[in-house]
Symmetry: D2
């Protein structure tokens, strides 16, 4: 155990990869909950950068509560329309007055939300298909932390909180995460009919992986039912290909299984998100900080998105523990599964957690004692660089959902 | 008296031009109340046109209740910023479901409002400096009127209502109206420092006219106090020039009289409207249908803007009576002052008012009996063309405030 | 002309009582526009009293912008229900921070609104049938006026504004005003089926007065159509009786003329106000300060309700001119019609208007010169007591709509 | 394995009770997130009961998205006040029109929220200290399930979802849950100074349990700092006593550790909840269905509160798996830790999950094979009674947070 109270030990369970049943889910970028996560985090980043620009350091804020109220839409082959607009309320606190100057926190938040929506949900016309409203209470002017242009100090933990990270991802986790990212990336670039609301569930039983995709199709690019069926099949083939890059297990991919062609019930949308029709959303209800929902693993309930990256210990520790887990696994051989848990201690610097608890499953033939010194060194190094997490979040380099 | 129950008679008062004291006011296009009037009317026009496009006739709606909640701003020489956004709520009813199809009334309303704001208050960034929200209840699907592409019928009056119009404008009225229009037109085109929130009050006592202008200056174009003072003086000179085109009376123009240079209290804005800083607004609180507030004349309390132009009898009669008054005065010589009042009768076609009451002051040497037949003929003709008012409003050719 | 610049002269028109056509309207206490007026004024009174209680004087506020968005209801004989709640937004500015203490302006406003609604629209369940929301911006802490417990000073006019009052009321005006008040008073006390949304229009042509009443019936007290018809007839008889107390002219009373029994279309409500079903409302759109809409008379566009009674010159002058008119007529004989206009002058104490303009029609045989000294003395006295208007408004003794 | 695809097997980890570090948290009834959970669930129950009353079966709805925007308060010894009201928005969908009748879903929701708040957060004055607003979209009329007065059928799973339950609770879990319940129950009854916003975190390291309590004190009952200190100490003693009823391990209880008496920073509130001052809240961000946050255990991300208990498979399976786990442990001896996971299969009746996965740690000397038949029988029985979960939720007999 180091000065930083780092423990490295064997985990008391099998590697998730070796468990009999595994479930993994990812709500894509255009899912209503993810839209809220994305806006909350965009707003937080914009506020942090503005505070640094204006007063040289990040002031108190917390914007982790965006609420989306779904609209109603009338999709139609060739292009329908949103009938009742979505309503989105940005909620939180932010410092609006500091040292004699007024800081336009709500205006900054609205701009960040608009830019995010225009970039990520491009078929949604902001101000017509969606009303973006804001209620930011006044933050505590005396709660700002020293994280600025010139000096960076390690803040004290102001809460007892907990973060958890894992590595490496299992095959199923890799498939779920990659499938969504690549559908919303390279695939959508070529196939504009696929909207950003792509939800993927992976279920592995033994050596059989079922991947279920719910992909919102954008009606403007779908001429008729045949087109739709073709688009669905094309997604299936693409995801199947992605999956096979990550596993040799048996894979079955299912797309838009709730469709009923006879009844004309298909996942057709105007804007590429189900927020247009009945699906509400809010922050912290979907993906964890590593982009996945993994019931087989310890998860933090913490809503990471939108929180202040300077002093919100839950946010920092969830992101940091994930970073640590990934660093360890990439640098140290022989680790089959690894969990990092960081528990804060109120009043101590956040680079000195109450406990940094690393639990691992080693490969056959590797003992914990073979790797623990290397692991501890990496954990120690990453903790020492904790403020780098803050910097990355402010720069928008780290995803939180 | 015609079949249309038109009365032409002498008015029992002096011409307003000859009264001892006269007060006239106009709230310019960027005044918070006028912003609401303008949006309400834009929304109404957009809905009417969409209904005609989609179902061939105008369906029931009424959108005469936009509410604006002022923001907070920090103007500064050279360019400040809006600190707390303005909130604007579009309120009313509109038919959203008709004959099996959904009509996106709220989306249409939001688009119309945005386009209006971007056109008329260009320094206000919609979605950042102002949040536009909407609450339109469902209109009565069975209340639509036949005003469509193919056939136009004269609707029945569904209320006892009243409209009033006047002509010609007095010198003071002309000065007030023209000064605002030209400040917001040719002058602002050359002098971008003048924002659209220009409020003008004219007061005439005998042959002395005082014109008081409150003109919001846009900080981006004002480098310092000297610049501001120069801009104020330039407005004064311009308005003085406009006034002298309309009168030979003595004129004094005062601009931004509430300024206090010593205290640094001046009418400097970021966006060109006082809605950015503490001035709320709503529909029907400012100018009457002829663009003026004229306590010396009969006025209708009716909020004309935003009402349905097909069947809202108060709106139609206020616009029509103004049209009639102007037509009479332009076609018939010898009239010094004229008031037209139209009173509806429930259940009768709106081209047959309960009474069309024309009261006039003739020039010296002209008797009412010299002109009454001509006047009546014009009134009769205009009433027969009542649906032309509806058409003009739908096309956006008539102003309502 | 006195030091106070009081003019007394003959009006250049007939007494309204002698004009050929006269139109008068009153929107009853439960009309959606009146609900907004009533809440705005209640909120203003509550704020003013709280400021005096807390800091000893009235601070800056202005709450003249309440907006009501109608709900939907399903009335039914014997008792129906509100199906979609009404939404009401209290809008304005109020001082929330003063001299180191926080003043809960929004909480005060919400309480005042709730108490008003519970008192005046008792069948409306606040928090279920109606959502009351509030957006009060921060008032200017430096704008308070000295109107407190200990000292009262006459404030300076901070705007060029205008108030107008009339007396005596014509017969038609008296009928309209009294009919609404007594329907909502003694009659409703005995006949709970009559809701507070009673709208009355009086039209006089020569010596024939038509009184048209639209009275919302409360479904809980109406068992069936026969009951309804009986209730309508009973209202008609009552109003007929009221009318005959005020005139010897021919009177015809019509109640709920838009009803169509065949189609089952009647004015039946759950809550006694049409705000429950499609009728939006806002401040300043209905009755003028004397409780009436009188197109035959000069009217101010000023929304009196909700304005600050200490320093809002438009509010004060509208109320004061009405008081003056009534005082003159009650104290001086021989006046058939009288109009008082008060015009403020920026920067002068409000008891010294730019002009106090009294115009009158005398009875036959009475000359203006017979009464002008008495009139001027009364005007002078009332102006000297201008702060009494403020006090009365704060105490809730004066109605504003 | 039964027809119901029930698996009973050994879990691949230690019992949580035997793990080295354990963390447990409970957000008390008055925590902002719990307020949202509680309102969402109250609204859901009220809607379900009303649907049964009105149409004989539960119609489609989902109200799992309440959002709370914190207010501002000025607590003071002896009694302060809320300065800026809390804003709470009830969000979701509900069937408003069914078979020709209108169902007042929003009115029902508002009433349920108000009653809940008045019951659970009694010092919060609804309509003054908190504005409750609602936005419920129209539910799909064709999505109702047959769960009515007369017949109950087992619905089909309409989603792939997952529920997880655990039993028995560890000592730390029991302490955390009981401490909150009893503080908000018997203790608050005697000690009204303790508000409902009590947050408890338990941390066990080996045989040492730290219990950290954050308890909002109600200022009305706290005369001064000494009183406050006494109240804090009294809570500490009470929780210490509760803890000792559940464990023989070493226990340390800490209350309101963030207080700083020197700086006058204490957890004093007007209303007993931190929602009054800066703490926002929303549904599904706090306790899981068993009332706890347990990072040592598998948790579902599902927001259970507010979901439709007839057909929302995630809600039903989370509640049911918890019920199963508790039943098994109470009926079968020799089980030290047990986890039940239920995974749905789209299109199959919900009493036939894709897999019902029971994993357990047995006591020393007990083999899985000794108990598996008994366990399976209980799981089978509980699955067969799955609609009893729905009934209990509708009746408000089951808590969801």
């Amino acid at each position: 155990m180091s000065e930083r109270n780092i423990r490295v030990e064997s985990i008391d369970r099998q590697a998730v990869e070796d468990q009999e049943v595994e479930i993994v889910e990812r709500k894509g970028i255009g899912h209503p909950d993810s839209i809220c996560d994305g806006i909350a985090e965009s707003v937080a980043g914009a506020l942090a950068r503005e505070y640094i620009d204006r007063v040289g350091e990040v002031l108190h804020f917390n914007t982790d509560e965006t609420q989306l109220v779904a609209g109603e839409a009338a999709p139609a082959f060739g292009g329908g329309e949103v009938v009742d607009p979505i309503y989105l309320l940005i909620v939180g606190r932010a410092t609006k007055h500091y040292d004699g100057q007024a800081i336009p926190a709500e205006t900054i938040a609205l701009r960040a939300a608009r830019e995010y929506l225009e970039s990520e949900i491009p078929h949604l016309t902001v101000g017509e298909d969606i009303v973006v409203d804001v209620k930011l209470g006044e933050g505590s002017g005396d709660l700002q932390e020293v994280f600025g242009e010139d000096e960076v100090s390690v803040p004290m933990a102001n809460d007892t909180s907990f973060g958890v990270g894992h590595a490496p991802l299992t095959e199923t986790e890799q498939i779920v995460r990659e499938a969504e990212r690549r559908l919303n990336g390279e695939y959508a670039a070529e196939n504009p009919e696929v909207g950003p609301d792509v939800k993927i569930m992976g279920k592995r039983e033994g050596d059989t992986i079922d991947v279920t995709v719910a992909a919102a199709m954008v009606d403007e690019y779908i001429a008729d039912l045949d087109d739709y069926i073709e688009a669905v099949e094309s997604v299936r083939e693409f995801v199947d290909g992605v999956a096979r890059e990550h596993t040799d297990r048996e894979v079955a991919v299912h797309v838009n299984t709730a469709d009923d062609y006879e009844e004309g019930s298909i996942f057709l949308t105007v804007t590429g998100t189900s927020a247009e029709q009945g699906d509400d959303g809010s922050v912290g209800r979907g993906n964890r900080a590593n982009g996945l929902i993994t019931p087989n693993r310890s998860m933090s309930m913490e809503a990471t998105s939108g929180k202040n990256p300077v002093n919100h210990i839950g946010k920092i520790y969830n992101l940091l523990s994930t970073e640590i887990a990934e660093s360890v696994v990439s640098e140290v051989d022989g680790i089959r599964d690894l969990r990092v848990r960081l528990l804060s201690q109120i009043g101590r610097p956040i680079d000195q957690p109450h406990v940094a608890d690393v639990q691992l499953v080693t490969d056959d033939g590797v003992a914990v004692s073979d790797v623990d010194a290397d692991v501890e060194a990496i954990v120690n190094r990453e903790l020492a660089n904790v403020t780098e997490i803050t910097r990355s979040v402010i720069e928008g380099e780290l995803t939180t959902f």
